[in-house]
């Protein structure tokens, strides 16, 4: 079925890599895949869809009706394949980068040496809305801030990987990695026969191990819980899935209370102490006494208990200052400053609109740049220069001028493409992809999930892959 697949133009195709035939690491797969015919493939695709629906692997948008509108995160059955050697390199780069981010956060909330040494500009940090005064001088259990990092990678048409952005607040998507793998194994088992693919199913165990490693001092058998905003949150499936696969309690803010600076959960047999909270609730909602007063999602007194060292919060509050897209520019320097190493993974060249020279360049070149707000996620607020009309370009300029700190710009990176089944044309066509990776840091503990979530933009030519913007996903195979 993939024999006639073509990719034209300047795009970098993962399977063809600018050659007419599949590159070596796709060869076995393509051969095995040829054993299925189109009608088998379509039937299996529908079966996979029903399986996702029955298992409730969905994300939901809620209006006023109780059952909401449930959507399956579109899953493309052609896996993205990365050879082991390439992955080893990425893995090292991810761990290096996230260790540096951890050191950076520790420094920002303590001595601020990097600012005093002028490596990162003071005003850039001070003006970040994600810098939390409440975290000043706090020593998180295990010394870890960004326990879970979701670094987004892309591959440019030069064949190189680049870090597109860091996500160190509450990155999501890992449950789809595991669900996609399960689904592909059930529907196309033969594909796995020839290709030796690295396991992803150990992620929940690793996650639990990490959570336990950062328990407060003196706690031998920590009670770890996952804090969710509740079942109407769009990522609720992931929250319950992770809690279930780790065998820990899934709690909401109203299940917890703080007494004498210790956190407890309300059980059928009375209060039980909580030691580690993997919270999937944003900073501003975790404690109404310190942040948003009207938040019903958090627990009053939680931050105080945290500062006392009686409970670990994963990730630590205030990490958002490090995944600010304007701070991203300084990542190579940050890595060098703390680790004394050159950055392994490339940064995309980035212009900070706050800087005079950069601002001037951006104003003159909006048409060939991607302009992004520094503190948004989910693909919101992004404008891609070559898709804009003249009037829209002028609008973007006005927006940037009004708040220069808020915007950065990057050259339009040509995300690599991958064969993807497109329902409308009933064919395999190239579509842009990226890779959301997952990296865990604990006390004396480091782990990167082999592969990650390959996100695919299903619309032709579209560069934004986020699920909230109509993207889908693929299973990602790291060959062993």
């Amino acid at each position: 079925m993939l024999e006639n697949y073509k990719c034209e133009g300047e795009l970098f195709d993962e399977m063809l890599a600018k050659t007419p035939k599949a590159v070596q690491h796709y060869e076995k797969f393509v051969k095995q895949f040829a054993e299925y015919n189109k009608s088998d493939f379509l039937r299996l695709k529908d079966e996979a869809k029903i399986q996702f629906l029955n298992e409730g692997i969905t994300f939901a948008t809620y209006n006023n009706n109780a059952e909401g509108t449930e959507r399956i995160f579109p899953f493309d059955m052609i896996p993205r394949i990365i050879p082991a050697k390439e992955w080893d390199f990425i893995e090292k780069g991810l761990i290096q980068r996230n260790l540096a981010i951890n050191a950076f956060l520790d420094d920002l909330y303590h001595d601020k040496k990097i600012l005093k040494d002028g490596v990162v500009p003071l005003d850039l940090i001070q003006s970040s809305k994600n810098l939390l005064a409440q975290m000043q001088g706090v020593n998180p259990p295990g010394g870890i801030y960004n326990h879970i990092s979701g670094t987004d990678l892309i591959r440019h048409n030069d064949g190189e990987y680049y870090v597109l952005e860091d996500n160190v607040r509450v990155p999501s998507g890992v449950s789809y990695v595991l669900a996609n793998r399960n689904s592909l194994k059930k529907t196309l088992p033969k594909l796995f026969k020839q290709c030796k693919v690295q396991l992803v199913q150990e992620y929940p165990d690793k996650l639990l191990q990490m959570l336990q490693s950062v328990a407060p001092q003196g706690v031998d058998e920590p009670n770890c819980v996952l804090l969710t905003p509740g079942m109407y949150n769009s990522a609720y499936f992931e929250h319950s899935f992770l809690a279930q696969s780790m065998g820990i309690e899934l709690v909401e803010g109203r299940d917890l209370f703080v007494e004498k600076n210790f956190v407890y959960m309300k059980t059928i047999y009375g209060p039980k102490r909580v030691d580690v909270i993997y919270r999937r609730v944003d900073d501003l909602f975790i404690d109404p006494l310190e942040f948003k007063e009207d938040s019903a999602l958090g627990t009053a007194g939680l931050m105080h208990a945290y500062r006392e060292g009686n409970v670990a919060l994963v990730n630590a509050p205030g990490t958002g200052v490090a995944d600010d897209k304007a701070v991203y520019i300084y990542m190579p320097e940050i890595i060098k400053y703390y680790l004394g190493e050159e950055a392994i993974l490339n940064n995309v060249p980035t212009y900070r609109c706050e800087k005079e020279d950069d601002f001037k360049y951006v104003m003159e070149n909006v048409h060939q740049l991607v302009v992004k707000p520094v503190d948004e996620s989910g693909g919101y607020g992004i404008s891609i220069g070559n898709t804009l009309t003249k009037a829209e370009i002028e609008e973007v300029k006005v927006t940037i001028k009004a708040n220069r700190r808020k915007y950065i710009a990057q050259p339009i990176m040509s995300l690599s493409v991958h064969p993807t089944y497109i329902e409308d044309s009933d064919q395999f066509e190239p579509r842009h992809i990226d890779l959301r990776t997952f990296c865990l840091l604990g006390k004396d503990f480091q782990y990167a999930l082999p592969g990650g979530l390959t996100r695919v933009a299903l619309k032709k030519g579209e560069l934004i892959v986020n699920s909230s913007q109509g993207g889908g996903s693929k299973d990602t195979w790291i060959l062993s």
Binding site: A66, F241, K266, T267
Partner: protein, 308 residues
């Protein structure tokens, strides 16, 4: 287990049982009126279906009745509302229940939600009811065979049996009303036995009760079987004993205190156990409502001790 989750699981059990009971009641009563004695009109069957659903004041066409009791999302007692609520409760607790159980509930939910209402109203009432009931049975099988028999299981089971006990009483009450109405129009043995058969069939006990009584049951033996039989899973006493069993397992107290749910259930269980059918028959309507109130009180006790 978190109290909130326990509460949701308790209600999951209750809603599952409620939806199943309504499905069965509608099916059996609808079909029993098709070939029953002339006095048993279709209107009476539809009215019974509405009364069972708590809509005693309403008069509706056949199609609207079926729509209201089965597919009306605005009606909190409809089958679909029960299924949605059961599934939402399960969803909130899906990390503590087994994947197998969750999937069977989710499948049931999608089945009911996607069923073509028009088909149901016109031609497929039997097909829908049968498949929905089968799915409910699968769910119960998964509750028993895929969960650890720990507090999670006990709470779900307690919810199931509380609701089943209430539904049994409610079914008897509605069918007894029918019998009285029909009697008023002139007592007839054929009509009475048809109504008794419908009652027993609604509670899936027509064949089995005949076997137990060695003949077709009359009202006395039907009541004895449906309320006081200790061994039949759709008898009130059996349900009460099951609630007692599960709450007893949940309790950590060696000697339950007078205020506890366990004490209250045990005490009342003994009372019901030594009730004889003549006690019930003397004033059936009042006795049924006393027992229903007892179940409400038991549910209240469980909720305040464990679920809040």
């Amino acid at each position: 287990m978190l109290s909130r989750i326990a509460n949701n699981l308790f209600w999951m059990g209750r809603y599952l049982e409620r939806a199943e009971s309504m499905t069965r009641f509608t099916k059996v009563n609808y079909f029993s009126a098709l070939d029953g004695p002339i006095a048993v009109s279709r209107e009476l069957a539809l009215s019974a279906i509405l009364r069972m659903n708590g809509m005693s004041q309403t008069e509706l066409s056949e199609e609207d009745t079926l729509l209201q009791v089965t597919f009306a999302k605005g009606n909190g007692n409809s089958v679909i509302s029960g299924v949605i609520a059961a599934r939402e409760n399960a969803r909130s607790a899906r990390d503590v229940i087994s994947t197998e159980l969750w999937e069977s509930i989710n499948k049931y939910y999608h089945f009911v939600l996607e069923y073509k209402i028009e088909d149901y109203q016109k031609t497929h009432l039997y097909d829908f009811s049968q498949r929905a009931t089968d799915m409910a049975m699968v769910i119960k099988g998964k509750i028993d065979s895929t969960l650890i028999h720990d507090p999670t299981w006990d709470v779900i089971k307690a919810g199931l049996f509380v609701e089943r006990a209430i539904q049994i009483l409610r079914t008897i009450e509605v069918k007894y009303e029918d019998m009285k109405m029909l009697d008023a129009e002139g007592p007839s043995i054929a009509v009475r036995s048809h109504q008794l058969a419908t009652l027993l069939d609604t509670l899936e006990s027509f064949d089995i009760s005949k076997k137990y009584c060695s003949r077709t049951p009359d009202l006395t033996s039907a009541l004895e079987f449906l309320v006081l039989n200790p061994d039949f899973p759709r008898s009130f006493l059996f349900c009460l004993e099951s609630v007692k069993f599960h709450i007893g397992r949940l309790s950590l107290e060696k000697h339950p205190s007078v205020e506890s749910a366990e004490y209250f259930i045990n005490k009342n269980y003994s009372k019901v156990k030594y009730t004889i059918v003549q006690d019930l028959e003397s004033d059936l309507t009042t006795e049924l409502s006393t027992l229903t109130n007892l179940m409400f009180e038991i549910a209240g006790k469980i909720e305040s001790q464990y679920l809040s």
